[in-house]
Symmetry: C2
Subunit: 249 residues, 2 copies
């Protein structure tokens, strides 16, 4: 792969580097190309500087971290500060973008940087890496030809119930797989809400610790989850999880 | 990673192996773990036997293909033939699942095999690999917190226009990114339909040959695509492409 900078153009590229979602060898979840390109990049825009440094040391234990430039872009960043983050690329340097975990610019503020990069005509290069949405969908057994990712559901009970009812209609009528996430400490509350709100025959998949040592991807009818919950209310635990449901096939 | 078979359980696992979407070194798009696990698997369920053999030789040029067992699962397969494909796993052998390109069981009949595997309580292991939906979304600059993948749009003009109008409402009202694919030989016709149907200010991203040498991911307002089309009606060519749109941010 040649980046814009390689081509001797005067602008650098924006390279989107996925980050592992679990411990263990980075070569289990990242292609060799990513690790090679990481060594060429001196400017990084990252969701969290500490976890970015930790990842870079895991990827290359002898990397010279002090020679690298980091700028943070996360939910605390003022949108007006984002355009200036592209300055290195406008001067010919590639910029690496790193999330805390998974693929950057999917469910984090990196998308705003990519949007500005596009306006400047900068090349944006997405690299392969772990993504919980696609990996959970692959292993769920659900329809992958039609699906919606909703991010987080509303926290307020009434709004969440209304959202789930609308999502269940899309599943029933169109067989569209419904996918969403929750903060791990709210897993138990979410599971109760799902089991109370969804039809007993709706199929619910819970995918936890994807790529990790406790990976668990389980698809069962809501009525079977209800039984599990009555035996053990915190059946999932506080493990990072992603939730999917669809009608019976 | 330990598979169920490694654990000395009596059942094998179903391992979902992504396949590159373009030529070039497999290590550019697949982690080393995938290549290691491929060598341990003797039973494969594949979308197309010829392309599966070609991929296995690209991954390991000295692999003994004749020692491997292949069963085809694609749109010509009778659904009643799928359960028997799990027999090797029930006898303790891992089964590898391969699409023609990209991640298995997302937009191909592999999902049916996974669904049956779940009913048998078999472990299903999704591996990391290239996925055009997520990679295009990352590089589009669009909202990744809320998106829908629609597969193929209706071919009939009236039904397609109605579908696009409904999708544009979800983009306008909720900022939900709309994603879909088309057979490459219909790219030009689809682009004309998009430019005729969508609002001139809607942002349209076309991502072509992702991970390939001609990779191109371009986001422009529909009115700018219209100008390109009037200069060159076949602006995308017959390259495998994925299409995304959303409202102006």
């Amino acid at each position: 792969m040649t980046t814009t900078a390689d081509k001797n153009n005067h602008q650098g590229s924006i390279i989107l580097f996925p980050v592992p979602m679990s411990d263990g060898p980075v070569t289990d979840v990242l292609p060799e190309l990513n690790l090679k390109l990481l060594l060429k990049v001196k400017y990084f825009v990252v969701e969290n500087i500490r976890s970015a440094r930790r990842f870079l040391r895991r990827a290359h234990h002898d990397i010279d971290i002090d020679a690298l430039h980091f700028t943070e872009l996360n939910e605390h960043t003022a949108p007006g500060d984002v355009p200036a983050m592209l300055t290195p690329a406008l001067h010919g340097h590639d910029i690496g973008v790193l999330s805390e975990a998974g693929c950057p610019a999917v469910a984090d503020p990196g998308a705003l940087l990519v949007d500005h990069a596009r306006r400047h005509g900068l090349r944006v290069i997405p690299l392969v890496g772990p993504n919980s949405i696609i990996m959970a969908l692959m292993a769920s057994g659900f329809n992958g030809q039609s699906f919606t990712f909703h991010g987080y559901l509303p926290i307020e009970a009434g709004a969440r119930t209304a959202a789930l009812k609308e999502m269940e209609r899309a599943a029933q009528h169109r067989g569209q797989t419904q996918i969403f996430i929750e903060a791990p400490y709210r897993n138990a509350r979410l599971m109760q809400a799902l089991c109370r709100t969804l039809s007993p025959s709706t199929m619910l998949c819970v995918a936890s610790d994807i790529t990790g040592p406790a990976e668990s991807i389980v698809t069962l009818p809501v009525q079977a989850w209800l039984k599990k919950l009555s035996a053990s209310p915190d059946v999932i635990g506080k493990v990072p999880s992603i939730f999917l449901f669809n009608r019976q096939q």
